[in-house]
């Protein structure tokens, strides 16, 4: 441990007085053009020796002003752009937006559409977790894991393509239901993909989670105190890694999650390793959930409710908040309508919003420079949902 006496002393208002001209400190920008950054954001590090004294997150490199754009698009025109908000897991935007609109417009979604929606969401969760595992290992220099998981992700993307016709932006869940029914023989092909993913995961478990060097790096890094979970608005695997069984799918079951049997995955160590392990087990749980969904889903039935003329679709004044448990935590849409044909205000609440800003800036202090990337990845932040 470095000598704490050389560190800056926090002032009365808690801010550090850092005299850059003293030559003891160095400003180091991690990102936006940096392989060790998640997506296109930047962390402004002030390092003292090899340890970070202060870190500031800078976002906004991906800002497109969705919440403004949606105010000048009709409800059905909003549907194709919402998925662009979060690239690696776009389906939650579609679901949350659709659910909010349905709630305010009083639409009833057909039963089968709910099952298909749940299926899509779980598939997206698997993709996101696979990407995370590769990133987490890569942040510690274990590139080969990323190769394996991205290959498995490609297999899952094939299923997406078969179902929705697109690899990344599916635009499949729209207000009133889903676009289409499952194709012929989808269940069997999905089963093959799931088995492939499971075998990949067992390899990953052997090479990554049981690797001595990986443990040396990950165990004990980035401890999140369970007491501050709520103060910092922490949700999802980061909270579950701290031993708090907080899972929207269980607490406020949406879609068909009340008819599926599963238990939220938790761990107690609350460090990078625990979070990675929570995500791995959560991924296996998603695989199991997909099997359940495909088994219990009603064979026939409508997948789309009849919408009013979408060109003149007006929704009475109201406001609501709809949330879902995405792979990073609680994903929510706050929708306000004023009786016109356009949303009055849409606010997207992405989990990274709190993880990458307040929480990261708190955790990053006194962390070795080498561990910054690993720590950031373990919070699983996606910049697009911070700045929209």
């Amino acid at each position: 441990m470095a000598d704490r006496s050389q560190y800056p002393s926090p002032g009365p208002d808690g801010t550090l007085d850092i005299d850059l001209s003293s030559g003891k400190y160095l400003k180091l920008w991690q990102g936006p053009n940096h392989p060790g950054i998640t997506g296109n954001m930047a962390v402004e590090l002030t390092v003292c020796g090899d340890e970070v004294v202060e870190g500031k997150t800078h976002v906004g490199y991906l800002h497109r002003g969705f919440e403004k754009l949606m105010e000048r698009r009709t409800f059905i025109q909003c549907f194709p752009i919402v998925c662009r908000i979060c690239v690696p897991e776009p389906d939650f935007n579609e679901y949350c937006y659709a659910a909010a609109v349905e709630e305010l417009a009083g639409l009833e979604v057909p039963e089968k559409a709910k099952w298909i929606r749940a299926l899509i969401l779980e598939m997206g969760r698997i993709n996101s977790y696979l990407m995370y595992l590769g990133g987490q290992a890569g942040a510690f220099g274990q590139g080969v894991i990323g190769q394996w998981t991205t290959y498995a992700r490609d297999l899952m993307l094939d299923r997406f393509e078969e179902l929705t016709g697109a690899r990344i932006y599916h635009m499949f869940i729209l207000p009133g239901g889903v676009r289409d029914d499952l194709p012929e023989g989808f269940q069997e092909r999905m089963e093959d993909t799931l088995q492939e993913i499971e075998s990949t995961l067992s390899d990953v478990y052997d090479t990554m989670f049981r690797n001595a060097v990986f443990k040396k790096r990950a165990v004990g890094l980035g401890y999140v105190d369970p007491a501050v979970i709520d103060r910092y608005g922490v949700t999802g695997p980061v909270a579950r890694g701290a031993g708090i069984a907080k899972d929207v799918r269980k607490d406020q079951p949406y879609l068909v999650y009340d008819q599926l049997d599963f238990e939220p995955v938790t761990a107690n160590e609350s460090d990078v390793y625990a979070r990675a392990d929570v995500r791995r087990r959560d991924l296996l749980m998603s695989v199991d959930l997909i099997r359940q969904i495909l088994a219990r889903m009603p064979r026939k039935g409508e997948v789309m409710a009849t919408l009013p003329n979408v060109l003149h679709w007006k929704i009475p004044r109201g406001e609501t908040y709809v949330r879902g448990e995405c792979s990073r935590g609680e994903y929510g849409y706050y929708l306000v309508t004023d009786g016109s044909g356009y949303p009055r205000r849409v606010n997207v609440r992405g989990p990274s919003y709190t993880h990458a800003m307040a929480l990261l800036e708190k955790l990053i202090v006194n962390v070795n420079i080498s561990d910054v990337a690993g720590l950031m990845v373990s919070l699983h932040t996606y910049p697009p949902e911070i700045e929209r």
Partner: protein, 179 residues
Amino acid sequence: MQSLYDNLKSLFALDGFEGQRPDLAFVNVSREQLRPLLLHLRDQEGFTHLVLLTAVDWIEDEQFQLTYLLHDRVNARDVGVRLMLPRENASMDSVHDLWPTAATYQRELREMFGIDFPGSPRVDEDFILEGWTDLPPYRRDFDTLEYAQDTYKDRPGRETRDPALHMKEKLYPDGGDNG
């Protein structure tokens, strides 16, 4: 939820209570009442998790609506605390000491709506935009299309149509009513 409302009603002067869902309700509160109400909800009622803090621009009646959405993890219910704010040089007292993460939301509101939160850390720094010289973009009176057109150059040959009019003249050339 109703029990919660009666409980609150006895303590604070609330006007209006809308139960949107069995597990989601909205209350309106005055500016003075806001902080004690939030404290009460956080410490007594178990609404420990600030889900989001955002604003809605009701430009017709010259007001901003601030929404503090709180979540009760144990009973899995949410309550949204609504607060009306006069629109010109709007300013609100900060709650970053109750929830550290509120500072981020307040930075965004400061930048996107121009609502000031005196005392909130780093509230005046650029958050998302950089070198923004125009109106705060999320205000209703800021026209993003107009701004984009006279700031950025369009590539010639792109045409956009209002879908309603376009379909009307395609499907009903005789101008029949399709409402």
